[in-house]
Symmetry: C2
Subunit: 431 residues, 2 copies
């Protein structure tokens, strides 16, 4: 059973702070191992990747070419996936594509009042690596959520890596790659795959950016190669916050809380409500639904250890708490969700109204399900087309306007002790 | 004297690769020291910051309040800076402000063909920490380039930290902070300042994002706190690439190359030209100008060790090389710069035409001078308003359109083995 807090209790602030700082991630100290793997792949390339793949994934191969997934294997995988799943993946791809197309930034070029031309030009990252975990967390929906925005941005080369422990690959993941238009796929994983993407090997040309979730080794490797390549966020365990009032259906809310909780024993589901009756009904519904949930053990542990039911005197009191939690997913299951939406400051994604369960956003809503976790919505955004483009700023002076603003640049160069800076302007003004 | 390469020489590709991989940064291994400092500040807060400040900056203080820069000190600093410098800083601030105001992203909310509402809402990061180095690299222009975009974005709280070794603070930096509207300033630096900003102490409330350049300790600390807070890029040594043809003035180009070189002995200045005559004239002009440059020692070392003059058969051959270099700064000093601009793929900022020396962009052009170094323009952009805002995506289904797309979500939830996900949708559809 999740904890229950009342915003009017005397110890509420202390208990809420405790909830905010609850440490859900076990930070394994794998950094020294990862450092050695990165160095080794940098030095020995393909040979090192083959060694680690044999050791960690128990997959023997005599060359990297063998580890590349062939078109025939992809075709075979497509046959293994039910048509219903393929149709759903295609619907998801199309909806993700059309939503993300709206995010494409536009070039801007203009002349300011004194005649200086300025602007911004956007171009796609040329090559992107997409990490897909093996085993349990190998989700076809995640392949779409990472690959489709890259395609929309115009990335020419997308390289997918996915480990196949003991040679087992999820055919759904290959199907999703095919549906997203990804064709360069290697069955490698871990820090060695991150290193191969970042530094390149004889077989794998290096990429400029690496995205996608992974375990502690992958996260540590991404953190270390950051700078050599770009990386997306370091994802933590997932979380949902549901704000609900007396109009909410407790069974629906319970289902949403458990959908989050079934991800991981360290996932977190929180409900804030102004109705103590709803709070009790949801608690009861959670217990009831847990009885028939296949992943009841995981979901139950998450709900017991990290779940929370917070009762507030009125909905106005909910939003400041929500903004402090900065949830990855925020559901507004209230009579007037738009009023609350106006007050959202920190949240990865908002699901508005009774008929928008968070799981719709995981799959077919069209928005991205790669969202900032662990309170990072305070400073970061979900994955978007912007993660696959970069901006070049442009500046163009002529002799006239250089004469107007140049002397100030000369003054600042001199003030900063950079006479060479000052000279490069002054020499053009015959100063 | 810089190296000279000819694109038509047989060994060109090998030598160009060598240039690309020239290691300009000495990566000091300070990570274990930084880890301990971060842990200590996290645990002991203000007391730890005071201890490190006494030890590293030789600045004794009995409380953090003492280390806060007072309004009186700022007023005193303003008096010490010449009016000419203040005027130039104000011109710079205004031009930076008006350029960055155009970068503010707009909210987007729309209804798709089947009636699902989607959108993106942008909000400012609530609190940002701005690191300003002490000593030599303490530049007032950098204060403006970091603080003004944050102001434009709507960041409510900007906290500046700047170490004052032996108690010495650059009055220009305080003046720039004042001109940018930054009023919460602490004279602390190093990893301890980064930790105070990220974790908070009794005196300093934590921020959500930390920006600004720093030494190896600061860079390592930013890398470690990434996740707890957001960070900007990890800046490396600066570089310029000038593409010039026979129409270019060799003295002007030489001045631009040296303006870059004077930053740092590991800065890099490269010229690519289709004119061997210009190449020789520029080489000569560099030697001439070095004789009178105050920072001749630094600039000379940079030019000798990392400078390069590349002669290409025609300007078409220049752009692919430029895109591989992915320069922080790219000057197009040619008769038809717009033709080359169309081919720019990887560059932090482009300076177009003979009358746009890069130094204009450092100070008063209006665009940002915080730009991706060390080839990171392949995957990242210069600092902008986007670094101080974040996007919340929104999704709103009604009963009708949930009935249309819900079944596909149920199918994917089931395919991924997430029955709780499937149920949270199915329960609303009475499936």
């Amino acid at each position: 059973m999740a904890i229950r807090l009342s915003a009017q209790a005397e110890d509420f602030e202390a208990r809420f702070r405790e909830l905010l700082s609850s440490k859900r991630e076990v930070s394994e100290d794998v950094d020294h191992i990862v450092r050695d793997i990165l160095e080794d792949v940098k030095r020995r390339g393909d040979a090192a990747v083959l060694d680690y793949t044999a050791r960690f994934d128990r997959l023997q191969a005599s060359s990297m070419a063998e580890l590349r997934v062939s078109a025939e294997e992809v075709a075979e995988a497509l046959k293994q996936v039910p048509q219903k799943t393929l149709d759903a993946l295609e619907l998801a791809r199309d909806r993700i594509h059309s939503h993300h197309a709206r995010q494409m930034p536009k070039d801007d070029r203009y002349t300011d009042p004194i005649g200086v031309e300025l602007g911004s030009i956007w171009t796609a990252v040329e090559a992107v690596g997409l990490y897909v975990p093996g085993g349990l967390a190998s989700y076809p929906s995640s392949v779409l959520m990472n690959a489709v925005p890259a395609k929309v941005a115009g990335v020419e080369r997308i390289v997918m890596v996915v480990p196949s422990p003991d040679g087992v690959l999820n055919p759904q993941v290959l199907a999703a790659a095919h549906i997203a238009g990804v064709s360069e796929i290697y069955r490698i994983g871990g820090a060695q795959a991150v290193a191969a993407l970042a530094y390149g090997t004889d077989t794998i040309a290096p990429v400029s950016k690496i995205v996608g979730p992974g375990n502690a080794f992958v996260a540590a490797a991404k953190r270390r190669v950051f700078g050599t390549v770009g990386i997306d966020m370091i994802a933590g365990p997932s979380e949902v916050l549901v704000i609900a009032d007396e109009t909410a259906n407790p069974e629906w809310i319970a289902a949403d809380l458990l959908a989050q909780a079934e991800h991981d024993a360290v996932a977190q589901s929180i409900i804030i409500t102004d109705s103590a009756d709803l709070a009790s009904a949801v608690e009861q519904a959670v217990e009831g639904q847990l009885k028939t949930l296949p992943k009841a053990e995981i979901a139950g542990a998450s709900w017991r250890d990290f779940g929370a039911v917070i009762v507030v005197p009125d909905l106005d009191a909910a939003m400041p708490l929500s903004n402090r939690i900065a949830p990855e997913h925020l559901e507004l299951a209230v009579a007037d969700p738009e009023a609350l939406l106006k007050k959202v400051r920190n949240a990865g994604a908002v699901f508005i109204g009774a008929h928008t369960p968070e799981a719709i956003g995981d799959y077919v809503g069209g928005s991205n399900h790669v969202l900032p976790t662990a309170r990072s919505a305070r400073f970061s955004s979900g994955l978007s087309v912007l993660d696959f483009v970069k901006r070049t700023s442009i500046l163009k002076c002529n002799a006239d306007n250089l004469r107007q603003i140049g002397p100030a640049a000369v003054a600042l160069g001199e003030a900063e002790g950079l006479a060479g800076h000052a000279r490069s302007v002054a020499i053009r003004l015959n100063l």
